[in-house]
Every structure is written in C-alpha cells, then in structure tokens.
C-alpha cells in the first residue's frame, strides 16, 4: 500500500513536470520535416488517420507475449544505438524513434532496467532532434530505471510519454512524423516476434505474427498519404512486399456469446467469439526473412 502511494506520487510529479515543460518554446520552432512537404491535401481524413494510429498494437503486449513463452532476453535483438547520431533525415529519425520505443517495451518487460539507459539516451537524442523531447523527463526516467522496484512507474511514464508525444504531433499537423513513429513501433514488434519464432517455433507467437495481416493495410494506408515523398514511397514498397506474403494467411472466426462473471468482486467479461489464424511454416519463414531485410534497412545507415 505504502509503495503504491509513493508510486502514485512519483507518477503525478512526473506528469506535472512533463505537462509544464517548455512546450511554448518548442511550438514556435517547428520545422517542416526535411523529407516531407505537406502541399497536397491528405488522401484520408485526419480522423481516419487518428483511428488507425490509435490502433497499432502496444509494444508492451508483444514483449509480454514473448516473455510469457519463456524466451530468454536477447540483447542482440535490439536495434543498435551506434548510428543514432548519423541518422540524417527526420524520416529516418522518426522511424527509428518508433523502433527504439518498441525496444524500450521489450527491455522494460524483461526488467532490464540497467540497459534501458542506453536506449533512453538514443530516444532522447532522436526526440530532441524531432522537437518532441519535451514529453520525456529523461532525468526521471533514468532515475526510475536504476531499480526494478520502479518498473510499474517506468512503464507507465515511458508509454504515456510516447502517447502524449503522438497526441501532440497529430494535434499540430505533424501526422507524418506520428505515422512514421507507429510504423517503426509496428515493424520492430514484428521483428522481435519473428526472431523469437525463428529461434524456437512457438504456435502462439506464430499466430500473433499471422494476425498482423489485420493491420498491414492500415499502416500502408497511413503511409500512402505521403507517397509523393520518395522515402515514404520506398517504405510503402517494402511493406507491400510483406503484405504480399500475408496473402495466403487465413483468419477465420467462430461465433459465440460473451459471458459475464464476477470473480473476487471484479467484473469479468469472457469473450466466446474466437479468431483462428492459419499460417504455414513456409509462409512464416518468408515473413521472417522479409521482415529482417526491411528492419535492417531501417536501423542501419
């Protein structure tokens, strides 16, 4: 109880500090990202884009699923932090920021709080370059990352900082950056999952990889708003190559009515409608291979 109260106050303090940071200074200083010019109207509405962006699965969930399979933590799966200073364009920086965000979820879920600091430094550098560093209280995050006792707070602050940053980007007409962020998060989540099944087959993770078919179109749709930019166009082509591999993946549904139960005083709804994914080993192998290629293009120079 005492621990919870203390955590609560830490969280409140951080949120208070973040919300009172120098947003005004930053907003004056917006730059059009060097690779994107918003001359043409968006092909899909801001509202639709917002819905799609909101619907990219959380990196924490993918990391948690990976951990639940018993897969050991692997540092080598993480994106290298060596090239961060050499990412020359805002396109590359935004995409990589998403990748590092997903990696941060993986690190946090495995309670590798010590290694979090290196990734946080990279995130800080990229976020500052994109003029959204004000949403991260890096000093506090670093302090929290020194002990696994602060894990709940660390996850909450990390995730909510990303959420606030994304909200701010969208509200300020920088949806292109937001789009790249969620694309980076999604690709890295897919990469982590595919590497785990590559190392050791796992039906549950394979199914989660197959389910990504549901979201591929949305991500490509988001990116297509900016296809007049060559970087975006190349990324779309890359993702289309993965999408083609998903053509044979089948997702079907079994109908059922939800049940409502009360367990230990808590209301629990159990869904009885089920989704079933059919993905063959051959399909999976091709998706693994193609994801590796695309992710490598993103994280390397």
């Amino acid at each position: 109880m005492k621990k919870s109260v203390l955590l609560l106050f830490v969280a409140m303090f951080i949120m208070y500090s973040c919300n009172n940071s120098n947003q005004a200074d930053v907003s004056k200083d917006f730059e059009v990202p060097d690779s994107v010019l918003m001359e043409k109207p968006l092909e899909i509405s801001e509202e639709t884009m917002e819905n799609i962006i909101q619907n990219i699965s959380s990196p924490i969930e993918m990391a948690s699923l990976i951990k639940s399979t018993g897969a050991p933590f692997s540092q080598k799966l993480l994106s290298p932090t060596d090239y961060v200073d050499e990412y020359g364009t805002n396109f590359k920086k935004a995409l990589s920021l998403g990748v590092f965000g997903a990696d941060l979820g993986y690190l946090n879920m495995y309670e590798k709080t010590g290694s979090v600091i290196t990734h946080l430094s990279s995130i800080k550098s990229l976020a500052d370059d994109l003029k959204v560093g004000q949403f991260f209280d890096f000093a506090m995050l670093k302090r929290l990352s020194t002990s696994s006792n602060n894990l709940d707070s660390l996850i909450f602050i990390s995730v909510s900082s990303f959420n606030l940053m994304d909200e701010y980007l969208r509200e300020n007409g920088r949806t292109n950056i937001s789009t790249l962020l969620v694309t980076g998060v999604w690709i890295e989540g897919l990469y982590l999952a595919t590497q785990i099944v590559k190392d050791k087959p796992n039906a549950e993770i394979a199914e989660r990889i197959g389910e990504q078919k549901l979201f591929m179109n949305d991500i490509i749709l988001l990116l297509s708003n900016y296809k007049s930019d060559q970087n975006f166009q190349e990324l779309i082509v890359d993702l289309e190559s993965i999408k083609a591999l998903y053509d044979g993946v089948k997702i079907s549904y079994e109908v059922g009515e939800p049940e409502m139960i009360e367990k230990d005083g808590r209301l629990v709804i159990v869904q009885n409608e089920k989704s079933v994914v059919e993905i063959t080993d051959a399909q999976l192998d091709k998706i693994i291979e193609q994801t590796e290629i695309i992710r490598s293009k993103i994280v390397n120079i």
Binding site: F9, M12, M15, L214, M260, K263, R266, I269, E273
Partner: protein, 146 residues
C-alpha cells in the same frame, strides 16, 4: 514514514495537484491505481450535460485487442463534476461489457475483458444520466489468460 506522507501532502498542496483535476493528473492517478495491470493507453473525456430530449453525449475511441489476452478497462471521474463515468466496450454493434450494469444499477470501478478474437474494438465513454463530467478511462494489460 509519517514524515514522508507529510512532505508529499505539503507538495500536493503547494504544487496545485489535486485528485479531482480534470487533466493528465487524473490519468496518472487512475493508471497507477491499477495494481497488477500494465498501462497501455488512456481515454480522456470531458462532456457537457445532455440537452433535454436528446441522447446523452458519448465519446468514442477505438482500440486493438489481441486474442488470449486479459485487458482491464477502468475509469476515474473527476470529483469537481457531477457525472459518474461509464465505459463500454463494443465489437461493431454488440456491447461486450461495461463498468455499469444497467439492469441492476450496479457500478464497478473497472471490468476485465478476456479477449479471444484479435481485432479492432470500440470504446464508448459517457456519464450516467447525461450529467456533465470529466473522466479518464484506462486500458491496461492484465496478462495472457485467466
């Protein structure tokens, strides 16, 4: 320990933070009060009082939920407003669950949802009786299975 609490109370009193504020502090309070669950995202809602002979205003959000995963939907209402928040989960037209049972009138601070079908779902937030209100809804991740 008492000293720490006194310092914290002093801090709260002089920093302008209040449990009842209709802002991001409400999100923090609501999210950190969710022991045993990991925060994923929040839904901030501020709605005016329903007009006469009109349906109460409702805010809609969409979320991705994954198969074989238990999620918690919790809600915290700001105390400076009359409205008590209701959070409802829908799959297209079908309501799957809510923190408020209209049949019995029973309210819950949260409900857990054991998802068995990956996909996009809708979350609706409104205030009981169409009252004016401010609330934070929190989606958190409980675990893989019950």
């Amino acid at each position: 320990m008492k000293k720490i609490y006194l310092i914290l109370i002093f801090f709260v009193a002089f920093s302008g933070i209040s449990y009842s504020q209709c802002n991001d502090q409400l999100v923090s309070i609501c999210a950190m009060g969710n022991e045993g669950a990991t925060y994923i995202k929040d839904f901030k809602v501020r709605l005016k009082k329903a007009k006469k002979n009109e349906n109460p205003p409702v805010a809609k959000y969409s979320v991705v939920l994954n198969k074989n995963t238990v999620y918690r939907f919790s809600v915290c209402s700001a105390t400076e407003f009359e409205g008590k928040a209701i959070i409802q989960l829908y799959d297209k037209e079908s309501m799957l669950g809510s923190n408020y049972n209209m049949a019995t009138g029973k309210e819950y601070p949260s409900f857990d949802f054991y998802c068995k079908k990956s996909g996009i779902y809708d979350v609706f937030m409104s205030f009981k009786g169409g009252a004016e209100g401010c609330a934070a809804g929190i989606l958190s991740f409980v675990g893989k299975e019950y």
